[in-house]
């Protein structure tokens, strides 16, 4: 059923002349109206959502190269291969998992450490607050391919960052191969860029939280002799804890699932130093030509899903603990 058919059906259902009907028929008609309204959304979801989810789940228990007519069922082998059994795949995955974990923790912590002071500074000033907020927000709006190329440009061997470091007399920090080609700096550089990209939203949330604090409460506490440290600890901080939890979990989730920056900026290089799980799943699914890796790709996708679900459960627990 297409969207227009559904809406005309809904129109017919709801404009039919009213005549005395039993309560039951009224209720049945209202139910039909409800179904007609949600039909386009549900149809789209059944086809593109449920079908693909079920398909991917089934495929994770099979070996297939995308071309042969049948799947070869292998049970839990794909999961086993990823986690420990395959001598080539398992270490690669472990490396990617470690990189993903490092990035998740570093991005979340880094975001809080920059966004919170930034928001409180911004909250303390009056002039230029709106302008600065807009400027700080730009990295979020433009997150994507274009900005990643701009970063690549400034991080080249002769790019602006290296030249600036040399000009400042910090030449020892410059990377002659470029920051992304140097195994020691590739992952940390990407982490810094991810923090740069996630600070805006975090700052906005902290700013909203800080503005919700009643200044009268802080003043009263100050009159009662509470110093600035105690005011921060007992009044401001408790109100910011739920926001911090949200920021951290958002950072963990986005870093675990997002691999676009890795795909554009390093594609896992140099030599696997920036491999992450999302990128691995992507490569197994789309860049193995004829080898039967689609099952492995699906299994890896589901392992990432389980991790995301665990995070969501922890999230719900932590937020409930707050109340």
């Amino acid at each position: 059923m297409t969207a227009t058919e559904t809406t005309t059906l809904a129109a017919r259902l709801v404009t039919r002349p009213r005549r005395p009907t039993s309560a039951r028929r009224v209720r049945a008609r209202r139910a039909l109206v409800g179904y007609a309204f949600i039909a386009p959304a549900v149809v789209l979801f059944l086809v593109l959502g449920l079908y693909t989810i079920a398909y991917s789940f089934g495929l994770s228990f099979a070996k297939w190269n995308g071309f042969s007519p049948t799947w070869e069922w292998v049970g839990l082998d794909n999961y086993r291969d990823i986690l420990f059994a395959d001598p080539r795949l398992a270490p690669e995955m472990r490396n990617a998992a470690v990189n993903t974990g490092i990035a998740m923790v570093a991005v979340s912590c880094g975001t809080v450490l920059i966004a919170l002071p930034l928001a409180s500074l911004l909250n303390g000033i009056t002039r230029l607050r709106g302008t600065l907020r807009s400027i700080f927000f730009l990295p979020y709006v433009t997150a994507g391919v274009a900005v990643y190329y701009a970063w690549r440009y400034v991080l080249e061997p002769d790019g602006a960052v290296n030249l600036a470091l040399r000009a400042l007399g910090l030449g020892s920090l410059a990377r002659p191969q470029g920051f992304l080609a140097d195994p020691a700096t590739a992952l940390p550089t990407l982490i810094v860029i991810m923090i740069w990209g996630s600070v805006p939203v975090a700052m906005l949330l902290y700013l909203a939280g800080l503005q919700a604090i009643d200044p009268a409460v802080l003043e009263a506490a100050a009159l009662d002799g509470a110093g600035s440290v105690r005011r921060l600890r007992h009044i401001t901080w408790p109100l910011l804890v739920p926001i911090t939890v949200a920021v951290v979990l958002l950072g963990l989730r986005d870093t675990m699932q997002g691999f676009q920056i890795f795909l554009i900026m390093t594609n896992g290089g140099p030599a696997g130093h920036t491999d992450v799980l999302g990128l691995k799943a992507y490569q197994q699914a789309f860049f193995q030509s004829l080898s039967p890796t689609l099952g492995v790709a699906s299994a890896l996708g589901w392992l990432i899903f389980v991790a995301a679900l665990l995070l969501a459960v922890v999230n719900a627990r932590l937020l409930r603990g707050q109340r």
Binding site: T15, I38, F45, S56, I125, F137, Y153
Partner: protein, 274 residues
């Protein structure tokens, strides 16, 4: 003018430093886009010595970025339209109409939030291949619309619930059917939420790259992010052209953001609270 205290000076200095950090890659993007093929190789200076519009003009017409811009506009526009139509209908039903299974279906949509896109990327392309829409703009728009379901359903249901129920009762007493009430009463009242969702859908769709890359083969259908990637991975990529392409890609989003800033701010805080 009031004199600033020492604390305020430190605060402004720190904020200024971060403003520079925020703008840093954009500044170089603009700088690169206005340099020619030779000057881009010299590097090191932000302000071009021989600023030229030729690189931008060349990227826009000879490298077909105008066509890719139109493709992006089409895909993003239709996705936003689809999201607004499909999920405002659904959100209205979830908020206002009683039907069996309402809560169940609602939470099903919300649960979608937790499925990582990489998990369904592969089966999605296989399915689209069977349906013969892989590689078309339809094949991008439909999954983009579906991907926005959790956010749009949550926010629109909440927005329709916030409308006083008396309005619904009064309209029903006047003999208006649900579709009429929805269209005439509720949709206009939900305008701020609709704009917010439109903006929150438009920006990631405009920037989308992963599904686009594995779907599109035909160059005439490329959207800007894919065109930019192809330009950058060509045989003789030149950073002045890449930066010009990047600039063409980000400027519309920045304009949209500056125009609708307050919807962004409200929407993001609302989305995260949910």
């Amino acid at each position: 003018m009031r004199r600033l205290s020492a604390g305020a000076v430190v605060a402004y200095a720190a904020l200024a430093v971060y403003a520079v950090v925020s703008l840093y890659p954009f500044a170089w993007m603009v700088s690169g886009a206005f340099k020619d093929r030779l000057e881009i190789l010299e590097g090191g200076h932000l302000i071009p010595r021989r600023p030229t519009l030729a690189t931008l003009a060349d990227t826009w017409s000879r490298l077909h970025f105008f066509d890719y811009f139109l493709n992006s506009l089409k895909v993003t526009g239709l996705t936003v339209l689809g999201v607004l139509v499909v999920y405002s209908l659904a959100g209205y039903a979830f908020a206002m109409v009683d039907f069996p299974g309402r809560r169940f279906v609602f939470w099903f949509f919300v649960a979608l939030l937790f499925v990582p896109s990489i998990t369904v990327l592969l089966p999605l392309t296989i399915l689209e291949n069977k349906l013969n829409i892989l590689g078309t703009h339809t094949g991008l728009i439909l999954p983009f619309v579906n991907g926005t379901a959790p956010l749009a359903v949550l926010m629109l249901t909440a927005a329709f619930r916030a409308v006083p129920h008396d309005l619904h009762d009064a309209a029903t007493a006047d003999g208006a059917g649900e579709l009429r009430i929805f269209w005439r009463v509720y949709l206009p009242l939900a305008r701020p939420t609709l704009i917010t969702i439109g903006v929150l859908t438009a920006v990631p769709t405009w920037n989308e790259y992963v599904l686009t890359r594995v779907s599109l083969n035909d160059e005439s259908r490329y959207t800007l992010p894919l065109a930019l990637e192809r330009l950058a991975s060509g045989t003789v990529p030149s950073y002045n052209e890449i930066m010009a392409g990047s600039l063409i890609l980000v400027v519309p989003v920045i304009v949209l953001f500056l125009a609708l800033q307050r919807y962004f701010v409200n929407g993001l805080s609302g989305a995260v609270k949910n």
